[in-house]
């Protein structure tokens, strides 16, 4: 139902409920009118049956009077045959319903010696015929009409019978016994009988017609049909034999009630048509017969049924009209809605020019259509504007992209920048928070031995900061050529910027000059974050000297100078506040403390590794928070004069976690061994040990497929060789690998394990640490004394 159309729902519900209401009214109406008609029928049936029975009764009563009177007279007066004949002739002659009448005497009752005596008068043609019955051929004593009143001692109507001569006239005899008083006893003298033709009775009953097939019938005391529209039943069947043939016990019950002399009104199956009927019945009291009047139900209910059929037809037409009206109304509502829905779909696909359905009416649908039109116009306008804005933004973005590339090209990006200079190494990175940023770094030799390096952070961000940064960088570089000390450079730059600095922009700058011959660094810090000096074997410390104001604010600012002596192997670590002020989602800053801690924990390997480690730490700290400020790092390591010799005792190697990088390891180790002058057996053992360690890490340390770094650092000092292996894999202590069973045959020993066994034999000291998600394995190997 939910997915059906409004037109369907509307017609369905309206028609259903209209139908229910109509059915209710129709049903009630039909029921009530049916009850009314039924009541009428019952009254009619009852009164008709009683009236008919009454009519018959009246006639029969008048007939009864004749033999009764005759019997009374015979009990009172003396008579002879002549008198009897006169009485009978008068009785038959004076009574039109009487066919004949006779007086039958008991043996010897009329005269001694006569067994039979029965004068009888009956109508014959126009006159009355007299004769005397009784004899061997007509032994009346044994017949019902005589015997029954004799035995019962009171008058009796006989069961109906066909008249003599095979005619079709049904007759009945009313017999009255008469007596003679003999002392205290009444002695039967004879029986007066009156034969009545029941033709008139049949006429009365058969004249009753109800509707088309309704009829009346009369049954005798035995239930025998005396009149019935079904001629074959008359005098052949009783109501009971009919019930037996039809297998209808209900009919038998009705019959029993009828012959008991009761009246009633019952449902009845017509014996003529087989239709359902009602029957009213009433007794004819004097004979015990019963009249039934049959009312055919369907015919009598035909009017109300016809009315019902007309009602139903009208209702159907009404339904049809209602349906059409609903469909029309629903259509007028849903057609524009459907059109609107289609238009909305088209609009959603971007077809803005589609014709919108016009609202012809002012109703809700009309309002909707108007709103739709308005919405389309608004949307069109909005999208037009949006398109323009987007175009502008795209242009700006592409410009910024170019600016970014330009800015990136402003800072040195080739590392190592001075491969011909073994006394120092330098590495830097600049990651703007936006396309372009205000951070800067730079380094360049101002003469043959002095390297100027600078890191700075312009106030503000974005394009203005970038422009300012470019200006600063140029100024510093230009001035550095002409100056000898960093504070001088900064002073001059400061003066140049401060003049006419309408934008009130400034920059924090750390500027240093390293004398590669001595390791002496002169520096001045113009309001910048103090860098770290990482001295070998010591905690990192801040370089807090040369504290000066920011550049570009005060024209006459004075810049301090400080001096630092770097020992070979020391590293200077410079950064901008984008590192220390990186934020996480709890609004915590990365802070100098965290930076310092990180530097403490990190074994100084390559400079690039140090920078990347820093970036990695900062990013993982920030998590999902976007980078808020430009991040710039610049690290510088001094190897000192003769740096080549020093360098020869060191090796830093970063491998990827692939077995193919093992060849790099072999090559690097061989080079290092030659430079540092390691004995051959040590090299051999070292190769074996490190290969095994790296293979272990590559094979087991990582569960993902990403690239990871393995950092190896070797340093020879005197007769000791220190080795550090770092990886970011899962915690794993290779020292816990048990020694292999060296006594077992070669084929049964597990693969690997030999390396660690060798390590333990080889190294003076073996240490495993897990520091901040990194495995650090440290080996200290005593080299054999050179002989």
């Amino acid at each position: 139902m939910k997915d059906k159309s409004i037109a369907f729902k509307l017609s369905f519900f309206v028609l259903t409920f209209t139908g229910l209401i109509f059915s209710g009214i129709f049903g009630y109406n039909y029921f009530v009118s049916r009850q009314m008609i039924l009541k009428n029928i019952e009254e009619n049936a009852r009164s008709l049956s009683v009236a008919t029975a009454q009519r018959i009764e009246t006639v029969l009563r008048s007939v009864q009077e004749v033999p009764k009177t005759v019997a009374e007279v015979l009990e009172e007066i003396p008579y002879d045959k002549e008198v009897l004949n006169r009485i009978l002739s008068a009785a038959v002659g004076n009574n039109s319903t009487l066919y004949g009448s006779g007086i039958a005497f008991e043996p010897d009752a009329f005269e001694k010696g006569s067994e039979f005596f029965m004068p009888y008068a009956h109508k014959s043609g126009s006159g009355i015929k007299l004769n005397c019955l009784g004899g061997k051929d007509y032994r009346y004593f044994f017949f019902d009409w005589y015997q029954i009143p004799k035995e019962l001692g009171h008058p009796v109507w006989s069961e109906p019978y066909y008249d003599e001569g095979g005619g079709n006239i049904i007759m009945s005899t009313y017999s009255v016994p008469f007596y003679r008083r003999e002392g205290s006893e009444r002695k039967l003298v004879g029986v007066v009988g009156a034969d009545v033709s029941l033709g008139w009775l049949q006429k009365i009953v058969s004249e009753i017609k109800i509707a088309k097939t309704g009829y009346a019938f009369l049954i005798s005391r035995n239930g025998m049909f005396v009149t019935h529209p079904h001629k074959s039943l008359i005098m052949n069947e009783t109501l009971f034999s009919e019930a037996e043939v039809r297998g209808d016990p209900h009919l038998r019950e009705i019959g029993k009630d009828m012959i008991r002399g009761n009246s009633g009104f019952v449902p009845f199956t017509s014996l003529v048509s087989g239709q359902e009927c009602w029957m009213g019945y009433a007794p004819v009291p004097s004979t015990g017969w019963s009249v039934g009047v049959v009312f055919p139900r369907d015919e009598l209910l035909a009017d109300v049924q016809r009315l019902s059929r007309i009602d139903l037809a009208l209702a159907f037409c009404g339904f049809l009209i209602l349906f059409l009206v609903i469909v029309l109304i629903a259509g007028s509502i849903t057609r524009p809605l459907r059109a609107l829905a289609d238009a909305a779909k088209a609009l959603a696909k971007g077809n803005w020019e589609i014709e919108l359905p016009r609202a012809r009416s002012q109703d809700e649908v009309g309002t909707l259509a108007a709103s739709f039109l308005y919405m389309r116009e608004s949307l069109k306008k909005y999208i037009r504007e949006l398109t323009e804005t987007t175009a502008i933004k795209e242009r700006m973005e592409s410009e910024l992209k170019v600016a970014h590339e330009i800015q990136m090209s402003l800072v040195p990006k080739v590392f190592p920048p001075f491969p011909q200079r073994p006394e120092l190494d330098i590495y830097g990175v600049l990651e703007p928070a936006r396309e372009v940023g205000g951070d800067l770094y730079d380094f360049f030799f101002i003469d043959k031995s002095r390297l100027c390096f600078v890191i700075g952070d312009v106030s503000g961000k974005g394009v203005p900061a970038a422009l300012f940064m470019a200006m600063i960088k140029t100024l510093i570089k230009t001035n550095a050529k002409m100056c000898t000390s960093p504070e001088e450079i900064l002073e001059k730059v400061n003066v140049e910027i401060s003049q006419g600095n309408d934008a009130c922009m400034f920059v924090t700058v750390f500027c240093g000059i390293l004398d590669t011959r001595t390791g002496e660094v002169c520096y001045s810090n113009g309001g910048h974050n103090p860098p770290f000096i990482l001295r070998k074997g010591k905690e990192p410390e801040f370089l807090r000297g040369g504290h000066s104001p920011v550049v570009g604010v005060l024209e006459d600012a004075v810049f301090e100078k400080a001096v630092l002596r770097m020992q070979p192997g020391d590293t200077l670590y410079l950064y901008t506040d984008g590192v220390t002020e990186a934020c996480n989602d709890k609004d915590e800053l990365y802070s100098e403390e965290r930076l310092q801690e990180m530097l403490t924990q990190t074994i100084p390997g390559s400079l690039k590794g140090l920078v990347e480690e820093t970036l990695r730490r900062v990013r993982s700290f920030s998590g999902t928070m976007p980078q808020a400020d430009d991040i710039t790092l610049l690290v510088l390591r001094y190897y000192g004069v003769g740096g080549e010799e020093k360098e020869a005792n060191k090796m830093n190697l970063t491998l990827e976690n692939t077995l193919t990088d093992l060849s790099k390891l072999q090559t690097a180790l061989a080079e290092f061994s030659e430079k540092a002058g390691l004995p051959k057996e040590v090299l051999h053992d070292l190769q074996l040990v490190l290969e095994e360690i790296v293979v272990n890490i590559v094979s087991y340390a990582y569960s993902d497929a990403a690239k990871h770094e393995i950092v190896l650092s070797l340093e020879k000092e005197g007769n000791e060789l220190a080795v550090w292996v770092q990886d970011e894999g899962r915690a794993f202590d290779p020292l816990k690998i048990p020694d292999p069973d060296l006594n077992a045959p070669l084929e049964e020993r597990p693969i690997g394990g030999l390396g660690m066994h060798l390590v333990r034999n080889l190294a003076r000291e073996v240490k495993y640490e897990r520091v901040q998600g990194r495995n650090i394995l440290t080996l200290k190997i005593l080299l054999p004394a050179v002989s």
Partner: protein, 340 residues
């Protein structure tokens, strides 16, 4: 009360009726005549057409008599037409009589023989209304009991004597109206006829007490086929063929009750006898019960010596006959004589 008032049945029997019956039943076989000359013969029933004689109608209408080479005219008895009279005077070659009548006539010297005993069980009974206080035989003491005349009184009277009952006998006509109106407390009835008439007049079996004489050592088999000794001597095969064909007719009637009843109703209508289908249906079913009693394995149509002797002894005791005629002289089975 014209002469026709001799009970309901007599009223339906105008003089023309008998001629009509005669005409119908004599002409029918003629139409069906074949090349083989048929032996003409006559048979008379006990009463007017009804299902009591369904087997004979079936034998005639289904051509069974013809099959046996017979052209049978069926005459009907009635209130004033005694089959014995017709048999004795030779107006009918065969006639239906009660066994008791047969024994009585034979004992009185009539040269009649039984060629087939159809009924094996007495259908004669007494019916009483329970409301008149009669629930068992002894309740009949002092009551008014309707009895038919002559031979119909042998069993009731023997029964009253057996139970030491003193009843007031009222002569009973052919209708049961006396009983229905309360003129008598108990009435005689044939199981297959009047008993059903009472039921069809609105009395229920539950309201009635029935006394079957067959249940009280007074089982007189009734309907049998009789012939004069002379007829038998002249053409023994005639009797054999007639009995065989009649028994086959009965078998057909019992096997095809619908068709058989239709024949009965047709015969009754042609004879202008009141015909109730329900009544005739009941009668045919009861005839089957009487001729083929449940549990009996007797060949249909045979007379058992035991039944014969019982009936004869009761007749003798009641004074109707002096001696019981010898069984062998009385019973000449139509079939046996042929086989012998």
């Amino acid at each position: 009360m014209p002469p026709s008032h001799r009970g309901p049945l007599a009223k339906f029997l105008p003089a023309s009726f008998f001629f009509a019956i005669l005409l119908i039943f004599t002409t029918l076989p003629l139409f069906a005549a074949e090349n083989v000359p048929l032996k003409k013969t006559t048979f008379m029933t006990l009463w007017v057409p009804q299902a009591q004689f369904a087997g004979f109608y079936a034998a005639q209408r289904k051509g069974i008599y013809k099959k046996y080479g017979l052209d049978v005219t069926i005459l009907h008895g009635g209130p004033s037409r005694s089959p014995y009279d017709f048999l004795e005077s030779g107006r009918s070659s065969f006639a239906m009589l009660w066994l008791a009548t047969g024994i009585e006539k034979r004992a009185q010297g009539a040269k009649i023989v039984n060629v087939a005993q159809l009924s094996q069980k007495s259908a004669l009974m007494l019916v009483a209304k329970k409301e008149s206080g009669i629930k068992e035989p002894k309740d009949l003491e002092g009551k008014k009991v309707g009895l038919w005349d002559e031979i119909y009184q042998v069993q009731p009277r023997a029964f009253f004597e057996k139970f030491g009952l003193h009843v007031k006998v009222v002569p009973q006509s052919y209708s049961v109206n006396m009983f229905l109106r309360g003129g008598v407390d108990a009435a005689s009835a044939m199981w297959f006829n009047e008993y059903h008439t009472i039921l069809a007049s609105g009395m229920d079996t539950e309201e009635l007490t029935t006394i079957f004489f067959s249940d009280h050592s007074l089982n007189f088999p009734e309907d049998g086929i009789y012939a004069l000794e002379a007829t038998l001597a002249k053409d023994p095969e005639l009797a054999t063929a007639f009995v065989k064909a009649s028994l086959e007719g009965w078998k057909y009637a019992f096997d095809n009750p619908e068709e058989s009843l239709a024949m009965v109703m047709r015969n009754m209508k042609e004879a202008h006898v009141p015909a109730s289908f329900a009544h005739q249906k009941w009668m045919l079913e009861r005839m089957k019960d009487l001729m083929l009693p449940a549990g009996g394995n007797r060949q249909p149509g045979t007379l058992s010596k035991e039944d014969y002797m019982r009936t004869g002894e009761v007749l003798k005791k009641s004074g109707l006959i002096a001696l019981v005629p010898p069984f062998g002289e009385f019973y000449k089975s139509g079939e046996a004589s042929h086989e012998g």
